[in-house]
């Protein structure tokens, strides 16, 4: 921060906050996340609207979906958010070992989440809870299946992409490429990860509990 105090304050120019590249990188990620909010809105909004319009084609929470298993999975994802934030905090304090450790923990938890979800999918499909009309056998109707897999599927895809990004960041961390002065890559992956967690908090409530 001190080098910036020496810079002449110029109207219209926003100096970097002293950490190389982070400010622009971070701003870019935030802007991108706004578009992601809109994307999930179209999917979740569709579910909300169709369920409101035609509740008879859906089922009550718990009838088809397993609240208990998914609650545990939700907890796993929340834990992964904590490990992520601890990874970033480690980096801020220059603790490289901590960074790597907590990144790895986040990866493991994230992978667990996806794994459990895949397991849940397999179980549901066996019960006849599918997106396609002809093959649907569970409670409610195929619309329930379509909307469920659409929302959770795209969320799961985002988690998977997040895990891949975290692996990429971990590899860079293992090469010592992040420092307290150059932590942009970790911070933006963290932002993305927390966002994905945030979406799940809302999604879990709307799909499994309401």
């Amino acid at each position: 921060m001190t080098s910036q105090a020496a810079a002449v304050e110029l109207p219209g120019r926003r100096p970097e906050t002293g950490v190389e590249g982070v400010y622009t990188l971070k701003l870019g990620m935030w802007i991108f996340l706004l578009s992601e909010v809109m994307f999930f809105t179209s999917l979740i909004g569709t579910y909300v609207i169709l369920r409101f319009a035609h509740p008879e084609h859906f089922a009550e929470p718990g009838e088809v979906l397993s609240i208990e298993l998914t609650a545990i999975n939700t907890f796993v994802l929340i834990c992964s958010s904590v490990t992520m934030v601890k990874a970033f905090a480690s980096l801020q304090h220059g603790d490289q070992a901590g960074l790597k450790k907590w990144l790895l923990a986040t990866i493991i938890l994230g992978t667990t989440f996806v794994g459990v979800q895949v397991y849940e999918y397999i179980h549901l499909i066996e019960e006849g809870f599918v997106p396609m009309t002809e093959l649907y056998r569970a409670e409610g109707g195929p619309l329930y299946g379509s909307t469920f897999y659409l929302m959770t599927g795209f969320h799961g895809t985002h988690v998977t992409i997040g895990v891949l990004a975290l692996i990429f960041v971990l590899t860079k961390a293992m090469r010592g490429e992040y420092t307290p002065q150059s932590l942009g890559g970790v911070e933006i992956v963290g932002l993305y990860w927390h966002f994905v967690d945030l979406v799940w908090i809302v999604l879990f409530t709307i799909v499994y509990l309401i």
Partner: protein, 594 residues
């Protein structure tokens, strides 16, 4: 006190003064991260699609002017499209669909947002490049496969998408209604990929403009072209993801047997329309705002006067961007939606005319008593204003729900669309290409042939599209292969034939522009940094600017419209010209009257 920045902040940016090794061909021309090269790549891609879209239009007009007759040159088309050169009804549906799709998604949008966004933003704000140059490159290279998918869809079994560019469900849900199977899916996939290209681009534009402006370039000193692109980028960022979701759902309905939009199992066809137009209305403002920005630049430059009401121009664009989100239902007045919504949307739609009108008055105010230089960009800019007025006026009629009962889905709508998209956006694009040609390619286009092209295009364009208002009111529906099968429309054939022949002339005249464009590329055609005597930062650079743009960080002292300052040596004053006494002082704020 001299206004120099410490070097720390700007060390990261590769300014032109830096020594670069020779960049290999493939990194310079193919996989380039230089925003200027990317804008040229978008330019070539979009102009090709513009020409293709125009060709599709000519074929549509052939059918409407000479129904059921063999088209000249139609023999090259396969029998699935036009046996013996006679256009089939299914092919006609594909023609209208793909004409709209090509023009909107692969011509106008990439021209305004991809081309001018990429060229102008870093130059006008004094940056060396975009915030994320590799993401920028990725944006272009995502658009390419999307384009191939669209083109390729003509050649698959069943042909190209045929449900209109609006692809309403359930018509588009199943091939049994349109005869199109794979083509419809390719259409959806292509737009999905293109959406990523747009969204990544908008992330780049917004971040760059917020964070990378040169010292002294406050928000209200940004040229209106960049302002318009900034606001447009926000609309793209927030609207395209909604379309993405809708496209996925429709694709799932088509391929997986899901039922989002099929009524039998609880799906809702109207949901498609709501999602599509929730995206679709901001989309049309995406298609016009950058052209408005360009118009402001060329009109001020040609008039040698500051933009009248610069601040209100900015606020008007921001208001348009806000209101754009609450008017989408006016595309659905006749859909059977809740009538209460119909009334609400009528009111909001009439509201959105206000900021547009403010802009029109400001353009006129800019020209008023100006020392006008009728250069070709100015002519196109003035045409933009006048044709946008007409398009806006027809829009007022359409905004009124009861009136829409009669004119919905008729040629009145087609007239409106083309007045704003061709009269508006395309004339804006012509203005922009000619005005910034030196920054694209280093030379300058020929003024004489530019004026010939302008004059002929302007006249023929109006002859084509103005009568369509009348055709629409008389009941001629759009997207109809054979309107004359209806007795009450049969008398409209002569006028339609006249329009069609004029269209062929209009298309032919574009060859003048193409020739001018291409011939002006020759190496011997060189131009100085500022042939139009304009003020914004791009005009301080060589034509074309080198890699890295600026030799050193520019500093901005004033707004971009300091034309004809009293007492100044010249009738323009560059934004980055240092203060040289009182002449360099910023023009006092305009009186509160506007």
């Amino acid at each position: 006190m001299s206004v120099t920045a410490t070097k720390t902040d700007f060390d990261l940016l590769p300014f032109a003064g830096e020594h670069h090794e020779e960049i290999p061909f493939i990194r310079k021309y193919i996989f380039s991260t230089d925003h200027k090269m990317i804008s040229r790549q978008f330019l070539f891609m979009s102009l090709i699609f513009l020409a293709l879209g125009g060709t599709l239009a000519a074929m549509i007009r052939w059918q409407l002017g000479f129904p059921g007759q063999p088209m000249p040159g139609g023999g090259v088309l396969p029998d699935t499209m036009a046996p013996g050169g006679i256009i089939l009804p299914e092919f006609y549906n594909s023609l209208v669909t793909m004409h709209g799709t090509f023009m909107i998604f692969f011509a106008i949008m990439p021209l305004l947002v991809g081309v001018f966004g990429n060229l102008l933003i870093p130059l006008q704000i004094g940056a060396a490049d975009m915030a994320f140059p590799r993401l920028n490159m990725f944006s272009f290279w995502l658009a390419v496969p999307a384009g191939f998918m669209m083109l390729g869809s003509f050649f698959v079994e069943g042909g190209a998408a045929g449900a209109g560019w609006t692809s309403y469900a359930p018509l588009s849900s199943s091939g049994e209604f349109t005869g199109v199977y794979l083509g419809q899916q390719l259409w959806l996939g292509s737009l999905f990929i293109l959406g990523f290209s747009s969204i990544f681009g908008s992330v780049n534009y917004v971040t760059t403009i917020i964070n990378m402006r040169a010292p002294g370039l406050t928000w209200f000193r940004i040229p209106l072209a960049t302002w318009s692109l900034f606001i447009t980028a926000w609309l793209v960022l927030l609207a395209m993801p909604i379309l993405a979701g809708a496209l996925i759902m429709l694709l799932a309905d088509q391929t997986l047997g899901t039922t989002f939009f099929t009524p039998e199992t609880g799906g809702e066809p109207l949901l498609w329309q709501h999602l599509f137009w929730y995206f679709g209305h901001p989309e049309v403002y995406i298609l016009i705002l950058p052209a408005m920005g360009i118009a402001s630049e060329v009109v001020a430059n040609g008039s040698r006067k500051p933009v009248f009401g610069y601040r209100s121009m900015v606020l008007a664009m921001i208001s348009i961007a806000f209101l754009a989100w609450i008017v989408w239902g006016h595309h659905m007045f006749m859909s059977g939606m809740n009538p209460m919504l119909g009334m609400a949307f009528m009111i909001t739609t009439m509201l959105i005319a206000v900021p547009s009108a403010i802009k029109v008055f400001n353009w006129l105010g800019t020209m008023w008593k100006g020392n006008i230089h009728y250069h070709t960009p100015f002519l196109h800019g003035a045409a933009f204003v006048s044709l946008f007025i007409i398009g806006g006026l027809s829009g007022i009629f359409m905004a009124v729900t009861p009136v829409d009962i009669q004119i919905h889905d008729t040629y009145f709508i087609v007239a409106h669309i083309h007045y704003v998209l061709f009269g508006g956006s395309l004339f804006g694009i012509f203005a922009g290409i000619i005005f910034w040609y030196p920054k694209f390619f280093g030379g300058i286009m020929n003024e004489f042939w530019g004026k010939i092209h302008f004059g002929l295009t302007f006249v023929l364009y109006n002859v084509v599209f103005f009568p369509m208002h009348s055709l629409g009111v008389q009941g001629m529906m759009r997207r109809l292969y054979d309107p004359y099968q209806y007795e009450f429309l049969a008398p409209l054939l002569p006028l339609n034939r006249f329009i069609s022949v004029t269209v062929f002339g209009l298309v032919a005249v574009q060859a003048i522009f193409a020739a001018n464009f291409l011939i002006s590329l020759r190496r011997s055609n060189k131009c100085g940094p500022n042939p139009w005597k304009a003020n914004s930062l791009e005009w301080t650079l060589p034509s074309p600017p080198p890699h890295g743009n600026f030799q050193e960080m520019p500093v901005v002292y004033r707004g971009p419209y300091e034309y004809s300052l009293p007492g100044a040596a010249e009738d323009y004053l560059l934004q980055s010209e240092p203060e040289t006494g009182t002449e360099g002082a910023e023009r006092p704020l305009e009186p509160a009257a506007h």
